[in-house]
């Protein structure tokens, strides 16, 4: 779920007509000073990170003067809190608080509707209060087609024990909160505390919105980098992976790193799962063997071979791995040879040395295993392919045994290199890449097997050379499914005339940095 920072959430509330404290975001102590001067009264400084309990770690402090604010800001910026380094702080007027409430919204999976929650007690410890004093909490499901009507909000507030002007004020906040949440596709929204000040005004003193990952595309203005559930800012490699996924709607590619730094001595392996349930089962199997996972990765939902290729390239951009473990449910409905081809291209390009155990059970598993067995003979790594009747436990054990054969071997990240391409080559674009065919080399080809290997039948022979059977435009729009079969056939059975370029923006630079760092170690 895509989380917004407090300052972002508050901006949306303000646009929705909910009162928020005066203030601004500072990235430097000087900015904090300026904002405090503008406010002209005591301020509160709050670190902008995705954790609760900021006050307990010194992440929320008050300042009487702008100079004091500057000094506190200097301490706060750069502070390490859990997985975060503080880069921004919110500087706001200090409110004179009379009472604190809680207002929130979640999606209720049982009723399949948004659920509004109001509590007459707010602030820290709200969960404990909810448990010990359930009577202080009132809830109401919202009809998603008709929205929240003002009278419904008023009734909810009334049930929480309010009346008169305050009831109307609070109900107004609730209806506006619902509108903001719905218009921004919020999975959850909460104002905690919602405060009543000494001059009887209602303010949202803190707010967190979480946007539905699947609807982030509707809200480009929010600038969400990765629409995935993260409890920390994404790493550079995760950003690269996400961008690689973004342009390709076929299947899912999910990647995150499980450690900040992969060190040589720690038994890290690269993990490549398929499907949530099967991945979890497979992770358990390798964890039981004492391995640690450098990353979690899932390519499923019938991904293209090109997507699986990119996933493998990204996994192999992590240094010091002892092995590569790929395993899903074992009885996949997707055509498993796509995954096999994606890995074959990636492992060959990387000249992979570390052992791999690839469990591709399911639809077309025999073909998938055959592809792994036939086309990974030229690399130093031992890679074994398994199917649905080989359990994850057995496969994890195989990986352990292969790693033990050469314990000192760890993965070295290579610079991203491409073969030199003859500019005279025949070339055409595909959905996410480009295919180059060196017709000079085709002269020596006897079988012309690439035409047959292409399951989408986009190639035909013209003067004994493979050319497109469709227009360039149709090919780019998806006639070519990027199954990679032509390149693999040509590389292993013929003249190495075909190269499929599948760019991964940012990966080259990332690898160069990684290599530099590991040389410095």
């Amino acid at each position: 779920m895509a989380r917004l920072y407090e300052y972002q959430s508050k901006k949306l509330l303000k646009e929705g007509g909910i009162r928020i404290p005066k203030g601004g975001v500072a990235s430097t102590p000087e900015e904090a000073l300026m904002i405090s001067q503008e406010i002209g009264q005591p301020v509160i400084l709050k670190i902008q990170v995705w954790i609760t309990g900021r006050a307990g770690v010194g992440g929320i402090q008050f300042a009487e003067t702008p100079q004091e604010a500057e000094k506190i800001a200097r301490q706060m910026l750069g502070m390490k809190v859990k997985n975060f380094t503080v880069e921004k702080i919110l500087v706001e007027e200090k409110l004179k608080i009379k009472t604190e409430y809680f207002a929130g919204l979640v999606i209720d999976d049982a009723k399949k509707s948004p659920l509004l929650i109001f509590s007459s007690v707010g602030g820290t410890g709200i969960e404990e209060i909810a448990k010990s004093h359930p009577e202080k909490i009132s809830q109401a499901s919202v009809d998603v087609l008709n929205g929240l009507k003002e009278y419904q909000a008023r009734n909810l507030i009334r049930k929480a024990g309010f009346s008169g002007r305050l009831l109307v004020q609070l109900a107004d906040v609730l209806t506006r909160l619902y509108r903001v949440a719905q218009s921004y596709d919020a999975r959850s929204a909460e104002i905690n505390p919602l405060v009543l000040t000494e001059d009887n005004l209602v303010y949202a003193a803190d707010c967190h919105l979480v946007i539905d990952d699947y609807a982030v595309f509707r809200h480009p203005a929010l600038g969400i980098e990765i629409a995935r559930e993260f409890d920390r800012p994404p790493t550079d490699l995760e950003k690269i992976a996400y961008r690689a996924e973004e342009g390709d709607y076929r299947g899912t590619f999910y990647f995150f790193q499980m450690t900040e730094q992969i060190t040589k001595q720690e038994n890290y392996i690269g993990f490549h799962g398929a499907g949530g349930g099967g991945s979890m089962m497979s992770m358990d199997a390798v964890l039981d063997k004492g391995f640690k996972l450098a990353n979690y990765c899932d390519t499923s939902g019938n991904p293209s071979a090109s997507k699986v290729y990119r996933a493998a390239k990204i996994i192999l951009s992590q240094p010091h791995l002892l092995g590569y473990f790929a395993s899903g449910s074992g009885v996949a409905s997707q055509e498993q040879f796509h995954s096999a081809r994606g890995m074959v291209k990636a492992f060959n390009e990387e000249k992979m040395e570390i052992p791999g155990v690839i469990r591709l059970g399911g639809n077309y598993e025999e073909k998938a295993i055959e592809i792994l067995q036939s086309y990974l003979k030229d690399i130093p790594a031992k890679v074994e392919g398994y199917g649905r009747d080989d359990s994850p436990e057995f496969c994890a054990q195989r990986l352990e045994e292969l790693i033990k054969e050469n314990k000192s071997l760890t993965h070295k990240v290579r610079p991203l290199a491409e073969p030199s391409l003859d500019p005279q080559s025949c070339s055409f674009e595909t959905i996410t890449g480009k295919i180059f065919i060196d017709h000079q080399k085709c002269l020596g080809c006897k079988s012309k097997g690439c035409v047959e290997a292409c399951s989408a039948q986009i190639l035909k022979l013209e003067e004994e050379k493979p050319v497109l059977a469709f227009s360039q435009e149709e090919t780019k729009k998806g006639k070519c499914t990027e199954c990679l079969a032509c390149e693999i056939f040509c590389t292993f059975h013929e003249q190495k005339a075909i190269f499929i370029q599948l760019p991964i923006p940012g990966l080259k630079e990332y690898r160069d940095r990684t290599i530099e760092n590991s040389e410095a170690e």
Partner: protein, 301 residues
């Protein structure tokens, strides 16, 4: 008998001319599902594997007669529109295959379906299969595989993980236990027919003698199944496995969920609650066939 779909069901495919739509139409048709028509706006008049394609659901209905089920393969952003179109035309069961459907769209589809007395499976589902009768969606991949992996029988299977739906069913087949209906309820936080609704359908199905459920952390589905058992609304033997024990719970961010759900949703809560009402919760996937066999024997005594 089986639930939700059988060899009589008249099925429509929305998005039939797309990549997935075409491949899975082939699977469904080859397996024996009665695919009556397909819809892709702008492609009316074409055919896919001999199935006529229409520009709208209404047109398909007018020209081919009433349709019981629609299987939806359109891109996620267009799912809501396709679903509402099918519901408005009168279809009573939707199978929503795509992943990444916005949650508020799902809520709207649900609301609309309820008003019309209709139901939906998914989104983010592999689909369902009543072995020997019909398959909806992409489960099995090819008819040949679906016939090999899934056999007619008396175990109902409901799962929140796509891959594990097939895996569990395959293990049951290997153990000599056939299945009545196998359903992947979908992997999202809000789905149409969820575990509790599915077990209630299995309760009424004569063919189903026992049920196997693959649960996962998150949502309240498994706890609600326990509630049904407590209220005697589900009385058949149930084998359950809950995935996600090892999942590291993230840094908590929102209080709102915790206020509403309390501990519900966690691995411990689900296992405890299910055990409390007598469900056979197994610690490993590989224990499922053994336990199912044992319960099946007992049910015959």
């Amino acid at each position: 008998m089986a639930i939700l779909v059988n060899q009589e069901s008249r099925v429509l495919v929305q998005g039939i001319t797309g990549r997935e739509g075409m491949v899975r139409t082939r699977l469904m048709k080859d397996y024996g599902t009665r695919i009556i028509a397909g819809v892709t706006p702008g492609r009316g008049g074409q055919e896919v594997y001999g199935i006529p394609v229409f520009d709208s659901v209404e047109e398909a209905w007018e020209k081919t007669g009433p349709l019981d089920i629609s299987v939806i393969f359109v891109p996620a952003t267009l799912v809501k529109n396709a679903a509402l179109e099918a519901l408005e035309a009168g279809v009573k069961l939707l199978v929503v295959i795509p992943d990444r459907v916005p949650i508020y769209d799902v809520l709207e589809i649900n609301h609309f379906a309820r008003q019309r007395g209709a139901f939906f499976v998914g989104p983010n589902t592999l689909g369902l299969v009543s072995p020997g009768k019909a398959v909806l969606g992409m489960i099995g991949g090819r008819a040949e595989r679906a016939r090999e992996w899934f056999r007619p029988g008396e175990v109902g299977v409901s799962s929140r993980s796509g891959g594990m739906t097939s895996a569990i069913s395959y293990y049951l087949t290997e153990a000599g236990l056939g299945q009545s209906t196998i359903i992947h309820v979908g992997g999202d936080a809000v789905v149409g027919l969820s575990h509790p609704e599915i077990v209630e359908l299995f309760e009424k199905d004569e063919q189903t003698k026992i049920v196997v459920m693959f649960g996962e952390i998150g949502t309240t589905q498994e706890e609600r199944v326990a509630d049904l058992i407590e209220e005697s609304r589900f009385t058949k033997p149930l084998v359950a496995y809950i995935g996600g024990k090892a999942a590291k719970s993230g840094t908590r961010f929102s209080h709102a969920g915790a206020i509403v759900e309390g501990r519900r949703g966690s691995y411990e809560s689900k296992v405890e609650r299910l055990k409390e009402v007598g469900v056979h919760v197994v610690p490993a996937i590989s224990d499922i066939p053994k336990k199912a066999l044992e319960l099946m024997e007992k049910s015959k005594e």
